[in-house]
């Protein structure tokens, strides 16, 4: 349910200027904010996080000139406030709006594990794994070497070997995985476009 971005260019410029006086920094903050709002909508089980994020920016764009004069504090919190209102407004509409196709993860997975899609994912994973360094691949490999109870001690041992806390190790692995996920998503988009 993707929506067209209805934010007029002039308002968009105003939004950027409000986020940061440096336009390049502002552009980065804008992208980050979009990403974060999509995540927040997702965590709130909203059916169309992207569309709702567009809606947030649409709403803010209509008042941005005034807000720049009146709002004090981190402008991102204002965007978040609008997002919360949207979630509340539409909670009855979106909350638990689980389609029949999506209720059973296993069933959905079996659909998604269709050979062609799975092959694309595997190809992209292979491709992206080659793009990261050997050390990073090794770390991911090591991190998942054990399961359940044994993994706790194992990961503590890895952290000790690397001279970092388990918390820092989790963050490092997350970052590697995140870069992999970004790469895979981008790769899948390219394959779909072809």
């Amino acid at each position: 349910m993707a929506r067209d971005l209805a934010t007029p260019p002039a308002s968009f410029d105003e939004i950027l200027a409000w986020l940061n006086s440096d336009r390049d920094v502002a552009a980065q903050q804008y992208l980050q904010l979009r990403h974060d709002l999509v995540k927040v909508f997702g965590w709130n089980r909203c059916a169309d996080p992207e569309g709702l994020t567009d809606e947030v920016f649409d709403r803010v764009s209509k008042r941005v000139r005034e807000l720049r004069q009146t709002f004090t504090g981190d402008p991102r919190l204002f965007f978040y406030g609008v997002a919360r209102n949207l979630i509340k407004e539409r909670s009855k509409k979106f909350w638990f709006q689980v389609s029949l196709d999506d209720t059973d993860l296993a069933a959905t997975s079996s659909v998604d594990l269709h050979d062609e899609i799975r092959m694309r994912r595997e190809e992209c994973l292979e491709l992206c794994l080659q793009k990261i360094s050997h050390d990073k691949r090794e770390l991911i490999l090591n991190y998942y070497a054990k399961e359940k109870q044994a993994k706790i001690d194992h990961r503590a041992e890895i952290a000790k070997q690397l001279g970092m806390s388990v918390e820092a190790l989790r963050v490092r692995v997350y970052r590697i995985r995140n870069s992999l996920v970004q790469c895979i998503v981008s790769c899948l988009d390219d394959k779909t476009a072809q």
Binding site: L105, Y144, R170
Partner: protein, 278 residues
């Protein structure tokens, strides 16, 4: 809204949709404004996905997880990619473990055939001795061959028809074994100053030959000498054979004399025997 108050447990409850509105807003505000807090939520989310994928969630948490993550295709997609990465890592690990097991199995197999360290030193010593023995044997063989070659050259020189020498010579006439079978054995005493022993080999055959060939062997020994191009005396009754005295050590010698025709055909053989005594 202090960040330190956000624990992993509360983040997990947030991700499972089990926190109240106030806590939800607190966490989400931090996600929007604080990069580190946001990362913590993402890490907690990855841990949650992992726990689901390895079926480590409690039943109630699993139900809540499915309600959250089966909800949108975007989230399913995220889950599938996480599953792919995890499956890849597990498959790689299994491959490594299998590979190590195979190496270990081969090592054990190899170890069964490998000698114990305590035996290694004696075997190594024996091998070195054997190698040295072979080298010495080869050297000895080479030395004997060279010596024999030198002796044969010396005999050739001594028996050349034009060869004249001032050396001390001891002569001995030998009859073929058939003729002197009833006669006492011929003994040869070689005095120290004697350098050459000249044997007159009586030729009992009717036919004479342009050249003769003699083969000398010490009975019980391994060495033998073949002397070619020997000639008979002018009357054809005897063939003269000169030998350096140093090759004749104490013992009994057997000598074959063969006539060789002009066309290379081998004629009759006469046999002689003599003893060198002290």
């Amino acid at each position: 809204m202090k960040e330190e108050l956000v624990t992993d447990a509360s983040l997990r409850q947030y991700l499972l949709g089990s926190v109240d509105d106030e806590e939800r807003q607190r966490i989400e505000s931090l996600v929007i404004t604080n990069a580190l807090s946001k990362e913590r939520v993402f890490v907690a989310e990855e841990d949650l996905l992992d726990d689901y994928l390895e079926d480590a969630l409690a039943h109630s948490d699993k139900e809540r997880f499915l309600a959250q993550y089966a909800y949108t295709r975007e989230r399913q997609h995220q889950l599938q990619i996480s599953r792919d990465i995890r499956n890849w890592a597990i498959a790689q690990q299994e491959r490594i473990v299998t590979s190590r097991a195979e190496i270990s199995r081969r090592s054990r197999l190899f170890a069964q055939f490998r000698l114990k360290p305590i035996l290694m030193v004696p075997i190594a010593v024996a091998a070195v001795i054997a190698i040295i023995g072979v080298i010495l044997w080869l050297n000895r063989k080479m030395e004997l061959r060279n010596r024999q070659f030198a002796v044969e050259q010396e005999i050739v020189r001594l028996n050349a028809s034009t060869s004249n020498t001032d050396a001390q010579v001891s002569s001995l006439t030998l009859r073929p074994i058939t003729l002197r079978s009833v006669a006492p054995q011929t003994d040869l005493v070689i005095r120290p100053e004697v350098q050459i022993v000249e044997l007159r080999l009586l030729w009992n055959e009717n036919e004479s030959y342009p050249i003769y060939e003699a083969r000398l062997t010490r009975i019980g020994g391994v060495q033998s000498f073949t002397i070619r191009n020997l000639h008979s005396e002018p009357d054809g009754m005897a063939i003269r054979l000169r030998l350096p005295s140093h090759i004749l050590t104490i013992g009994t010698y057997h000598l074959e004399l063969i006539g060789v025709a002009a066309d290379g055909r081998i004629g009759p053989i006469e046999e002689f025997q003599f003893s060198v005594t002290g």
